[in-house]
């Protein structure tokens, strides 16, 4: 039944495609001047429908945590819909900007909806060198594609879909930029004030702090260089740096490093006894982007997550989940399962919670001369426990403003490993997105 529903969703997406195809008129190369008119107000965005089918990995730690009270749930389906609106109003040197995101999802947990302001700010540009911004904004620091250890004032992005927009934090920030002749071409400074109080940015860290962070950017010897700093406040003090450089016309290298001083971490033993460790977490990332003559693009990254869990710590956590599950089956008491779930939410259940990862994405632009057709293959491997995910996908953008993406994800790894203990074995997702 669930597979049938998923494919009905798939067919629905395909059914709307022909209606959007517009036949072209040959040799009509007009360029109407009205197409270039400036308007102070603009409204755009996209609407998305995304059915997902997941074959659950029965017996794994995260399957137990998610579905322990739902007997014989072998396959789950999701029908996710999203509306993301972008509005802006420009007047003189000022600009108001808003990005709002509305989700309406039907999953194994039933219907749920969510409305969030991802970004909403006022930008004032007294000169082309200076921009002062007040409001909710994503800072997006760091040069990595899949991970950004140097993103000191951002929410972590999802390496399975790193190009998705994220919710920002309410900040007061400014950019001051100066250009030069010579080896140093550009320098810019971005200070950020981030208040963390009960009703403002309360998920960033501990409450009642006014946090300060600074980014200094340089384009020096044709290399992008950022130096980053976050003062101690609602989070520990942190220092970061990143770089990016084109080695040739088809080869780019980038890297990031971050040090979080006195980083706290809650760990559990296999019986569920938790303890707090405090240590200096050193994280780094090295990556490249390479394009072949046949238009295949390789993105490869190696990520060391200094605040991640060791193999032993993860094994202990998985053992605790097994113990909690056995207790639930034996007694019907879900208290230990709830404790295990809470630990999952505090770090063990993060997308990539361990220490060393490799990311590889290969994208072939328009193979066999098929324009707007892009197949890709992505793998994320845990270097420590040798488990991995592999995700083939195809994207089709032939129809103006319409994007169709089919993506599958397969997880591989024995019991006790990161990808071997995730809830979903196989995952199939169709994303139909219409921009307006």
């Amino acid at each position: 039944m669930s597979r049938r529903s998923f494919f009905l969703g798939f067919l629905f997406c395909l059914a709307v495609v022909p209606g959007l195809v517009t036949p072209g008129a040959a040799e009509d190369y007009s360029f109407d001047v009205s197409e270039t008119e400036t308007k102070p107000y603009s409204l755009g965005g996209y609407a998305e429908f995304r059915p997902v089918l997941i074959d659950q990995a029965r017996g794994t730690a995260f399957y137990k945590l998610k579905l322990y009270n739902r007997a014989k749930t072998w396959t789950t389906e999701e029908y996710n819909s999203k509306l993301q609106l972008e509005e802006s109003y420009q007047r003189g040197i000022s600009k108001l900007y808003l990005r709002a995101n509305a989700d309406l999802n039907n999953t194994y947990q039933g219907w749920n909806s969510d409305l969030q302001i991802y970004e909403g700010y006022l930008s004032v540009k007294p000169s082309q060198s200076t921009d002062i911004i007040a409001g909710k904004k994503e800072m997006r620091w760091g040069k990595g594609y899949a991970w950004n250890p140097a993103a000191l004032v951002d929410r972590p992005k999802n390496p399975d879909d790193p190009e998705l927009a994220l919710e920002g934090y309410a900040v007061l920030t400014a950019d001051y930029t100066k250009s030069f002749d010579g080896r140093l071409k550009t320098a810019s400074l971005t200070p950020v004030l981030l208040p963390v109080y009960d009703n403002l940015n309360n998920t960033f860290g501990s409450l009642n702090h006014l946090d300060l962070a600074v980014k200094a950017y340089f384009l020096f010897y044709d290399t992008d260089i950022d130096l980053l700093y976050r003062a101690k406040g609602s989070k520990p003090a942190a220092y970061g740096a990143d770089f990016s450089r084109n080695i040739s016309t088809n080869f780019e290298v980038h890297g990031e490093a971050a040090l979080i001083a006195e980083n706290p971490q809650s760990i559990t033993d296999k019986n569920g006894n938790t303890a707090k460790k405090v240590f200096d977490a050193k994280s780094w990332l090295l990556g490249l982007r390479y394009q072949t003559e046949k238009d295949a693009t390789y993105i490869a990254e190696y990520y060391h997550n200094g605040s991640g869990f060791s193999e032993g710590a993860m094994t202990d956590y998985f053992s605790f989940v097994d113990t909690a599950y056995a207790s639930y089956i034996g007694t019907g008491n879900a208290a230990l399962m709830q404790k295990a779930a809470n630990l999952g939410n505090s770090g063990y259940g993060a997308v990539n919670p361990m220490r060393n990862y490799v990311y590889l994405r290969v994208t072939q632009q328009e193979p066999f001369n098929i324009l707007y057709f892009t197949p890709a293959l992505t793998t994320i491997a845990n270097v420590d426990d040798k488990s991995f995910s592999i995700s083939p996908e195809i994207t089709w953008t032939r129809i103006t403003n319409f994007e169709l993406r089919f993506k599958a994800m397969f997880l591989a790894g024995p019991a006790g490993t990161e990808f071997g203990e995730k809830a979903g074995n196989d995952r199939y997702e169709l994303r139909c997105r219409y921009y307006f």
């Binding site: 190369y29 972008e86 997006r140 550009t186 971005t190 950017y217 016309t249 001369n369 032939r398 921009y435």
Partner: protein
């Protein structure tokens, strides 16, 4: 005998040098006729498929000298707000969803189709290429030019230049070994005002994309002085505000 040989060699060298200077001077003249050194303009890019179906993009672009080019996509909605920046040999793409500039290479294509990033963020031919040979074909000069360094998208170009108007008519982009990558056809000469008279349409096709072609249409080309800070990563999301 050695003296005669020396004089002959010297004359041959001087003739070749004079020839090269003529070619490079012509290339510079072509550059100035095509675009002022600092400008703003609008471009429409059309990718045409073999069955006639089209996909269109509109860009607003600014340039300052031979180092700095920036642009922003105004349409379609799926690409609106995407920014492109070139600073010397460095190129970046800004995608609003991603929220930060990403380094790109000159051979990639931000729009799909036959035009790549180097075609869109083009600077003067004379800044990147030197004339190796010049020949005459009827009403046209043919300039055979070679890249000055390895950071350029095409190793060699053959440029057919109208003798009278000093404007390109056709341009072939080649690999170092002489393999044809694409051909550009310059069409429909138009007076944009302020002394700018140039082809308003560039069509391109490629043996690598048989049956497909891409077209670039130019509009509202105007001389404009811009601050250097416009051509920086922090300004990429704000290029639209220059309009």
């Amino acid at each position: 005998m050695p003296k005669k040989l020396f004089i002959f060699s010297l004359l041959a060298f001087m003739a070749a040098a004079a020839h090269a200077v003529d070619g490079d001077a012509l290339l510079r003249e072509v550059d100035r006729n095509l675009e002022p050194p600092s400008y703003e303009m609008y471009r429409k890019l059309i990718n045409v498929e073999p069955d006639g179906r089209k996909k269109e993009f509109i860009l607003y672009m600014v340039r300052k000298g031979n180092e700095k080019v920036a642009g922003v996509f105004l349409s379609p909605a799926s690409d609106k707000g995407r920014g492109m920046l070139r600073l010397g040999d460095n190129m970046w793409l800004y995608i609003p969803n991603v929220g930060k500039p990403i380094r790109i290479t000159s051979l990639q294509s931000a729009t799909g189709g036959v035009f790549n990033n180097a075609d869109i963020l083009k600077i003067d031919f004379g800044a990147e290429y030197a004339v190796e040979k010049m020949e005459e074909q009827g009403d046209e000069h043919v300039l055979h030019v070679k890249a000055k360094n390895k950071t350029v998208a095409y190793d060699r170009l053959n440029i057919w230049v109208d003798k009278e108007q000093k404007l390109p008519v056709k341009l072939e982009c080649l690999t170092e070994k002489g393999m044809l990558i694409k051909t550009l056809y310059y069409k429909e000469i138009k007076d944009f005002g302020d002394g700018i008279v140039r082809p308003s349409v560039i069509e391109t096709d490629s043996p690598l994309y048989k049956g497909y072609k891409s077209v670039m249409i130019f509009s509202k080309i105007k001389k404009r002085d811009l601050k250097d800070e416009v051509f920086t990563l922090t300004f990429m999301s704000k290029v639209d505000t220059l309009r």
